[in-house]
Amino acid sequence: MTPFNERIIEALETPELRSNLRGAMDFLRSKRSLSIEDYALWQQHQDIATDVRHALPQQLPELLEQLEQSCTRNGIEVHWAADASDARKIFLQIAQATNATRVIKGKSMASEEIELNTHLEQHGIESTESDMGEFIVQLANEKPSHIIMPALHKNQEQIAELFNQKLNEKADASDVDQLIGIGRKVLREKFKQADIGVSGVNFAAAKSGTLCLVENEGNGRLSTSVPNCHIAIMGIDKVIPDLSSLPSLLYLLTRSATGQEITSYVNLISGPRKPDELDGPKSVHLIILDNGRSSIASDPALAATLACIRCGACMNHCPVYTKIGGHAYGTTYPGPIGQVISPQLDGGEEHNELLNACSLNGACGEACPVNIELPDMIRELRNQRSAAQPNHTGEKMVWHAWRAIHQSPRLYQLTSLMMRIPGLSSLLFPRRWTKGRTSPTPANNTLHALIKAKTNHDNRDPQHEHK
């Protein structure tokens, strides 16, 4: 059994997780559909956003170059990271140059991707997550299980228990406001002490050099304005040409992610504190991470992977994610987009097995606000992975045989007859199927045979057999 399957079983056998997930997914799905009131308007924005995001892979080199120029002009220092370890090194250099010992972080999936927290800890730098969900996950020594709602696998009781244990509090599980208050109290202090604030980037406009960041708790604004130094980390795919498409992108993003018409905070960051300004960071750095993305851009069949705006709708609608949650995937990005992007990122080979956990039911593709055909891409990745397998591997041989049978009407009908030999039909279904499901019994006669008998003619020219 593969480790992924083991993790799946573990998740399936945790009833509390199952009910937390179902509850959270129901909530997010219904909020999303309620927020799409005006479908015609939704579609207008969808068209604009889809065009912009799908054109992106072709335009990456020029847009990124432009982004660097604009940011530099705005006083943002731009750093290029080819892979995760590069990004970690760059971060550490900036931190060490300023003698930083404390970092406060807003939500950033790119920083999860490069495993920044662990790296900073190893170098004696304290890193605190300030998004409430991330804070909870960090306190529990876990990883986010969802890209939008990092702690959605936990219920209030579990969170209260965690606070009581780790923060020595007397939290009341039934009082959400009190729970959040406890977190805020801890975080306020951390904000004041932090030397560096870290954030992700939702969109980076190349023309103006503007970093857009949406959030609901204000922690993103604090992280990017209170500490003296702000470091933003983004994948190269976060770039957009200019701000003109931003209203459409945000329209889709917030509705798809949390069912909100707009988030409580929309931050547009265009540089460090100016000489005549009273607050804001003294320096702003932008780390632009590739980590396999530019090679994704060069494969036309898979380039749309980079169109993703990380709204999480595909995972909320995925029946597999809904059953097992994000941790089972063992990747930074779980769910359908995670299945597509993880195997393609640097060092992603170990995640090829995720591709098996998809029934191609299409719910993700339907939910995606920027029309990424996720099922087609999962199929394409399966194709590419199987093509790379040697010819004698078990599954390839099965499909070779399958083809030989189904390409030939005679062999096909002969096989149908053989399936009716008692005991043989069940052999078609491997144990992995029959463990949980009885294999079907073939009907006494095939439709081929029944029709042939009805029309009572045994025409050897198959094209002319009529009912």
């Binding site: 399936l12 956990a357 390839k396 083809r403 499901r437 081929h448 094209q463």
Partner: protein
């Protein structure tokens, strides 16, 4: 009578042949004579979805040849296989110059059974007063590949004595997904269990669907656990309603 081709599909051929015969009867009620070429086999979807496009393409070409012989529309009593031909053949065969055009031609004359007949059946002949309750399993293909789920609901809507129930989470997959159920059997089974329970919770006399893969999957789950699963292909269910009207 105008002629149509019937593609029985390999699952109906082997496990639900009566649904194929019932499809022929329904087509005839709608005014069409079915032609069933004996050279038909499978649409090629199993390897296609498993990532073995080359093997799938070889079988798809054989299907294209079988059903392009005459100009008759191609009727498929399965949203899954109809969707494969309509939406995926043109992509699958695009690197086979000779077949690309043919695939597009076949795709454009292919219809899921109920999509094709729903507006053509003689509903006025339905006179049954015996109430029936049926739970509909809309397959993922009928919802998201061909859109036939709408026709399925419309078809039953024409039968005043039938109460149609949709289970909660109606749009969620039953967990079959071809080789998915073999490669990820645990999560697949958890999905199947949910779907089965939601269908049963509708307290309907029977479960109907237009995709046999889902039915085989749900039945296999029920049987393994000693549970009942009265069900019918939607063609058999509809045909039965017309029979009862005429008996």
């Amino acid at each position: 009578m105008k002629r149509v081709y019937l593609f029985g599909t390999c699952l109906i051929d082997n496990y639900y042949p009566e649904a194929g015969l019932d499809a022929i009867e329904l087509l005839s009620l709608a005014g069409f004579e079915s032609v069933f070429p004996q050279s038909q086999t499978c649409c090629g979807q199993p390897p296609y979805n498993s990532g073995y496009a080359t093997q799938s393409a070889a079988v798809a070409m054989q299907t294209v040849d079988t059903f392009l012989y005459a100009e008759y529309p191609l009727i498929v009593p399965s949203a899954s296989c109809a969707g494969m031909i309509k939406n995926h053949y043109p992509v699958l065969l695009r690197d086979h110059p000779e077949y690309e055009k043919k695939a597009i031609a076949l795709a454009s004359k292919t219809f899921e059974l109920v999509d094709f007949i729903v507006d053509k059946l003689p509903y006025h002949q339905l006179t049954s007063n015996t109430p029936v309750t049926a739970a509909l399993h809309q397959s993922c293909s009928a919802l998201r590949e061909t859109g036939s789920a709408k026709s399925w609901i419309k078809l039953i809507g024409h039968m005043p004595h039938v109460t149609l129930n949709l289970p909660c989470y109606a749009e969620e997959c039953c967990g079959f997904g071809g080789t998915f159920s073999i490669k990820s059997p645990e999560v697949s089974l958890a999905m199947t269990k949910d779907k089965y329970e939601h269908l049963v919770a509708t307290k309907s006399q029977t479960v109907i669907s237009g995709d046999c893969g889902c039915l085989i999957n749900l039945k296999g789950y029920a049987k393994k656990n000693g549970l009942a699963f009265p069900h019918q292909h939607i063609a058999s269910f509809a045909k039965q309603q017309f029979d009862e009207a005429n008996s």
